[in-house]
Amino acid sequence: MMAYLIRRLLQVIPTLFGISLVSFFLMQLAPGGPIDQMADLNPHVTPEAKARIRHDMGLDRPVYLQYLHWLSQLARLDFGQSFSDHRPVTKKILERLPATLLLNFLAIGVMVFFAVPIGFFSALKAGSFFDKAMGIFVFLGFSMPGYALALGLMIVFGLKLGWLPVSGLSSIYFVPVPWFVRLWDVARHLILPTIVLGLTDLAGLSRYMRNSMLEVIHQDYIRAAEAKGLSWWRVYGVHAARNALIPLITLFGLMLPDVIGGGVIIETIFAYPGMGRLGYEAIMTRDYNLIMAITVISAGLTVAGNFLADVLYAYADPRIRYR
């Protein structure tokens, strides 16, 4: 097990390097660079001033030196200052990161909570009306643009019925309220964004679970378990499901970037104070430091999630530990 973990960890390092390279390259794409962006707004900036600022920011050094400097800053998690309000980028991200992690975590929970039973029962009742209906649902899920569904839910639940709030993370209070009122309020705000984000890849996951389950229930050991006289739940709910869930762990790693990235649109639509919306605003204001930092952190989160998924997979399926 340890050998496998160490091997896996070693594979992570070049991936992280690659991510830092891509993010750095992203900044180089900007025509004219950040100086021209800032200077365009002020016609009085002289070329000498621009050259001086460029030298101060180290932008006149050769590219590889700039990259090494960026890498050293990355190691210290120092992403520089945001261009829009000159606050340290790390601080801005840390303010928003917990909200995004909460939303993503809940969304993945929703996804698994619905996809696994749907796949489970679709496989067991393969060919039935339920299976066909779920199949249609899956296809629609693949084809629907998530943000359109978000708008639809906003109209129905927010405007017409008025049941759920459609923006932010909590309401504004004019009087002090007890903690459980606050908690319930936050929960109400989380419902719509979580459902919409949870629908990302829900269809795919349930399909995968169905196929995995179908493969498992035709195996000999399931037939043996039934022949032994074990209860339906023990055979299918415990033995079959456990084996069917293992391949899903790897899929979990593939879903992560979709969830983290999908958060960008969902958070923007719902005005949710998370890292995704921060990223969108950073892109709109061409705030390079913030953009690069969010790219690296999102990618880092995905890599960490994948690593975790691989560890879980090695734990769940002993066959791959000894490869």
Binding site: P31, L151, V264, T268, R286
Partner: protein, 283 residues
């Protein structure tokens, strides 16, 4: 392979395809959309960019079948022109990802060794970075126009295809007919393109068809956020983004583009799944 074998195979595939009703529906819808896309500038009932501020935000009527938007433009005509934009972005983006992904995947899968390791690391990196965010950032830097959108969607969707092609290559290169061809002294390029590639085409075709749907979804998301196709050029995404501002008073601005996207992507997905059932019947 002999020409007769190819026509026989095609006939078998066509028979299998026709039996799958959903796939036939998908194909029909895609064909209709393609025709609409090509003919759209000539069959629009009204001018899609003509503003008529006296007729803003009107619901569906006899003269404006799907109503008007906030500048009085006919939504139906804009939707028709949007078909052209969406389909062309979908096809070009997938074309780019096909070329890049297939070449890299074949190379890595067939020659293996350090090429394979390098490609797999590159694919890992590209798949770790949240795609939409990356695309938004690049478009913000390079300027949002339809050609950049096509290129960037293509250049961010090749990793999945490359991984697929590489996997297929790894299993094919051990087969006897490849070893036999190598022993017969066939040169490597010919080996790759005449003997390996035709056997990899099936999953590539399925992935490409499904990829068109994905590319259309991505393009509409980009236009919705304002970094895709720019107005006044109509795209389903940017009609939706106007619809978002008038959600409470003009439902037609949101419903019709959303339906258009849904039906189009659904059609490509049905077609892709149908192709998968035809070309790879073991699942």
């Amino acid at each position: 392979m002999h020409v007769c074998t190819y026509t026989l195979m095609l006939r078998i595939y066509l028979d299998r395809f026709k039996k799958n009703h959903l796939a036939v529906i998908g194909f029909t819808i895609v064909a209709c959309l393609a025709v609409l896309a090509v003919l759209s500038p000539w069959i629009c009932p009204r001018d899609p960019v003509l503003q008529d501020l006296t007729a803003r935000l009107q619901g569906p009527t006899a003269s404006h079948w799907m109503g008007t938007d906030d500048l009085g433009r006919d939504v139906f005509s804009r939707l028709l022109l949007g078909t052209r934009i969406s389909l062309s972005v979908g096809f070009v983006a997938v074309g780019i990802s096909l070329i890049v992904g297939t070449v890299l995947g074949l190379w890595a899968g067939f020659f293996g060794g350090k090429w394979d390791t390098f490609l797999m690391r590159l694919v890992d990196v590209m798949l770790s970075i949240p795609t939409l965010f990356l695309i938004l950032a690049v478009l913000a830097f390079l300027g949002p126009n339809i050609y950049n959108v096509m290129a960037i969607i293509g250049l961010t969707s090749w990793p999945g295809l490359a991984r697929l092609v590489r996997g297929e290559c790894l299993s094919i290169r051990e087969r006897e007919y490849i070893l036999a061809a190598k022993m017969a002294g066939i040169s490597t390029p010919r080996l790759l393109f005449v003997h390996v590639l035709p056997n990899v085409v099936a999953p590539i075709l399925v992935s490409a068809t499904l990829g068109v749907g994905g590319a259309i979804l991505t393009e509409s998301a980009l236009s919705f956020l304002g970094l895709g196709v720019q107005p006044p050029t109509p795209s389903w995404g940017n009609i939706l983004s106007i619809g978002r501002d008038y959600l409470h008073i003009a439902w037609w601005l949101s419903l019709f583009p959303a339906l258009a996207i849904l039906v189009t992507v659904l059609a490509f997905n049905l077609l892709g799944e149908g192709l998968r059932d035809v070309l790879d019947p073991r699942t």
